[in-house]
Symmetry: C2
Subunit: 272 residues, 2 copies
């Protein structure tokens, strides 16, 4: 995958069917049990450090991508490996009337993970510079300012102990066509199909351009974007699992020791 | 397990170490993969029926029990089998100042699952007739009225399409002692230990009495309480998994057909 920490990006030059760093699906999937166990241990330590200690560390996974790119699938398969006690998943839809009455970051702030939690955004504040740009939902000047507001917002999160893992699930238009057709072909998948998706699909180049600008303007060393080739679901799941493990390893949370005397507590406990 | 739909209950007469309806741990665990697959399919159908259709059906799992009874473990092991896209987990702590400024059901309403979701409450509105009663956090008259308010509230949820699965995780005081000591003995579990738990433990009979009253007053045919013998974690997980499957089977959600013409959509899609 491609790590962006500032500077130009050419999305069209990224082959969405590649599986960088991985020899084969078998080799990747053979690593999954070990990765899942590592993730499990690190997540518990993150949670424990906030509960029993006073750590403010937390993780925010941001998932963006065109329709069918696998945001929901990532939540199911990658986030599904985590302990639900410590996660907070939010799927952002078109903003409600109440949300529109606030600034665009209001609903985002309300959905942030607390200390010790792993937050997951299925779509995010980036919609306000993606669909908003393509569909002209705001004046260009307003959208222009949002990149800066997003950067400041993300910097404040990082300063407060969050590690951001921003993933652009990059698929080809051919892969999207295949996936939308599969939804139409299967009565058990019909509910996932939305006629409006075809209207958005017709604006593919405009969306790619909006993504390019957002990824260029809102990447930083401590808030990078990852471009995940996502035509292969197994690679997407493997790559994002690894990113989560790496994010938690950077935090390297430790079990707190508890602010009490263990021997005193043992005696108190045995007395009742 | 014991199903309560009204009438008296004698909690002391329930053996917390039993595993009713199950011959052995091996037999129960052999059923888990099949139960998990069934749960997975039913959860997707519930989610789909709300998304693609207009079903208002949803499930609310309420977990109550003494400290260490396994509420968090149930979330980890039972809820962990579900797709995180369709769950909403809330762990209720001592109410904040803002929450106390509202009626006791305010924070509960804010945490309810939306149509298609499975909501999970780790503690709940019942704390307001449990710890509130034992610790005299409200006047007896105020607490007396809450049972009725809870019943009315739960009836309104059921009328709006919710299925309630209320589980009392019933452990013995000996089992609690064992589990608290285990937390003190393991540096990686120390963070779970809270000296205040010993103070609550000293009030064991008062809590059992508060549970008895709550279970008697707030059980109904369509909002029953289940008393889950919970000394054995594997039995607790098995029993609650089964209850969730049964709740979803009662709803029996169906995949919606989509409000569009599949052939028209196929043509539109192939044209872009």
């Amino acid at each position: 995958m491609l790590r962006l920490a500032g500077g130009p990006v050419d999305l069209a030059a990224v082959n969405t069917a590649l599986t960088p760093g991985v020899f084969s699906r078998e080799k990747a999937e053979a690593q999954l049990p070990k990765l899942a166990a590592r993730l499990d241990e690190l997540q518990e330590r993150l949670f424990a450090a906030a509960r029993g200690g006073d750590s403010r560390r937390r993780v925010l996974l941001v998932l963006q991508g065109m329709d069918t790119s696998g945001k929901g699938g990532t939540v199911r398969h990658v986030v599904g490996q985590l302990d639900p006690n410590g996660i907070r998943v939010t799927a952002f839809k078109a903003p409600t009337e109440e949300e529109r009455a606030h600034d665009f970051l209001w609903r985002i702030r309300n959905a942030l993970p607390a200390a010790g939690e792993i937050g997951i955004f299925d779509r995010s504040h980036y919609e306000d510079v993606l669909i908003a740009r393509v569909r002209k939902l705001a004046l260009p000047m307003v959208i222009g300012k949002r990149y800066q507001l997003i950067n400041r917002f993300e910097q404040s999160l990082v300063a407060d102990g969050a590690v951001l893992v921003k993933c652009f699930l990059h698929i080809s238009p051919q892969e999207q066509s295949k996936r939308l057709l599969a939804r139409l072909d299967d009565p058990r998948k019909l509910w996932k199909y939305n006629p409006g998706d075809v209207d958005e699909r017709a604006l593919w180049p405009e969306y790619q351009e909006a993504y390019r600008i957002a990824l260029e303007k809102c990447s930083a060393e401590d808030a990078p974007w990852y471009v995940i080739p996502a035509d292969h679901k197994w690679y997407r799941n493997y790559a994002i699992t690894r990113l989560l493990v790496e994010a938690l390893e950077r935090i390297d949370p430790v079990y707190p020791q508890g602010g009490f005397d263990v021997e005193v507590e043992r005696k108190r406990l045995l007395a009742v």
